[in-house]
Amino acid sequence: MRRVLSLYTGFFVQSLKARLAYRADFLSELFASLLATAAGILFVVLLFHRIPDLGGWRREEVLFLYGLSLVPYGIFNIFSINLYEFADRYIIEGRFDRLLLRPMPTLAQLLMERSRLTALQEVAVGLGVALWAGARLGLAWSAVDLLWLGVVAVSGAVILLAVFSILASLSFFFEDRIGVNAPVWNLIQFGRFPLPIFGPWLGAVLSWVIPFGFVTFYPATHFLGRSAFRTLCYATPLVAAAFALLGLAVWTLGVRGYRSTGS
């Protein structure tokens, strides 16, 4: 077990070194990523400049949700780039064959081969915004709250990784560049706002089909004291575990059906 763990860390550290080797690129990427985060937060701030509340949700509540949502999203983004580009880089350009030759699960290699440390800024900025908004809301962080924060961060990241692993698995069957990642990636933003504002239909899709509602909104109701969502809130780790298993199953199925392009 310890050997496997050191293998994983060694692999991950190696990929980080490769990324950091080009310092100008790294800084440029960090700058771009910070801007994206800032723009999202700025939209919420500007929205509430002239508006008292959003369908019954106050400014601090929405900012808390938005900030909190960046924590699992940032963790996910450390590993996400290869999932987005899996079809192009690994199937069409033939890199996947290499992964099959190594004594490590292919999905783990894929996630760690090109990591983005810059995504940590999302975790940091998100936590900052959530703590600020939480303070304005009078949140007292108990030990249970802190533990739940950790659970939310990990569960949310796992759900995002599972959903995009499933999408990446589709490339095993359809080499075509369908580009299904973009619309699903755009769905993530629904999970940063109070789910009820999106109505029953979209709410159901975001809860049970593509469960982005569990990435932030449902588990966040623990902090916001909205007891109407209590059951779904505490079901978050279960949903994450279920989707992780589903993701792994679909991935395994895909690898089994894989035929190299042979180039």
Partner: protein, 267 residues
């Protein structure tokens, strides 16, 4: 010169035919973007009496504003900045120096071809889907609609020239990914795509009056809603055209300088 432009436009057209399937998912992406902002604005007006206006906009106006903003974005959008950066990185930009057309003509021509192609294959279907799904209102009148169409063409020009200018920076620095990202978010916000200027704090609204970005999304949508009539309408279009002209001059000047720099460094 027109013939050269049409040739580039045709090439841009053909380049897009190769990726037909992407259109289906593209339509989905735009629909998702409109729905995010549709639901957010609906929630803003949730507890207000029907017909209530906030900052001069009823909910129906805002839905129309947001929908039209994304619809025309599907038409005017291009990646000229990224494409120039790639040309510089791969050294292919030199081939454009040997041609009788300038890089500016080539890039805007290609982008115009793509935009025309997308108008039929992308903007058309997106318009239908969005009008079916959301309560989008019609134009304020024939004059408003004609002005809106003219304005959308000028949006294309302003967007293309801004992208070209950003692309020019690739000649000076190694990576412009950060700058491209900065431009993207500046335009998204200051063009008024996400919310009309009326909702901005006063200082930001004032600043946006002196910048070209608001003419990309806000001006065409406001014209569609009939926010300007008669001389005001012409004034809005005139301002937009003026910005397009200023940016065109800036593009030509920058390209001229870059060519001279390139020759000095060349070998």
């Amino acid at each position: 010169m027109i013939r050269a432009l049409t040739a580039f436009a045709r090439a841009g057209f053909l380049r897009l035919v190769a990726y037909r399937l992407r259109y289906v998912t593209g339509i989905l992406t735009y629909t998702i973007n409109v729905s995010v902002y549709y639901f957010i604005w609906r929630a803003v007006y949730a507890h207000a009496a029907p017909g209530t206006e906030l900052r001069g906009y009823a909910l129906s106006d805002l839905v129309t504003y947001v929908a039209l903003g994304w619809i025309i974005r599907s038409f005017y959008f291009n990646n000229i900045d990224r494409e120039i950066a790639a040309l510089v990185e791969e050294g292919q930009v030199t081939t454009y120096l040997a041609r009788p057309t300038s890089l500016l003509q080539a890039m805007t021509g290609l982008a115009a071809g793509e935009s025309l192609f997308r108008l039929a294959t992308f903007t058309g279907p997106i318009t239908i889907v969005i009008f079916l799904l959301f309560p989008v209102g019609g134009p304020a009148g024939p004059a408003a609609f004609a002005a809106f169409l003219a304005s959308a063409v000028l949006s294309f020009a302003i967007f293309a020239y801004l992208n070209f200018l950003v692309g020019m920076v690739a000649f000076a620095t190694r990576s412009i990914a950060g700058l491209i990202s900065a431009k993207h978010y500046t335009i998204q916000l200051l063009s008024g795509l996400l919310m009309p200027m009326a909702f901005f704090p006063d200082w930001l609204r004032l600043a946006s009056d002196f910048l070209p970005f608001r003419h990309i999304a806000h001006t065409p949508a406001a014209l569609y809603l009939g926010r300007a009539a008669g001389p005001e309408l012409l004034g809005a279009l005139g301002q937009q055209a003026l910005w397009a002209a200023i940016l065109l001059v800036a593009c030509r000047w920058t390209w001229g300088r870059m060519v001279r720099r390139l020759v000095i460094q060349g070998g």
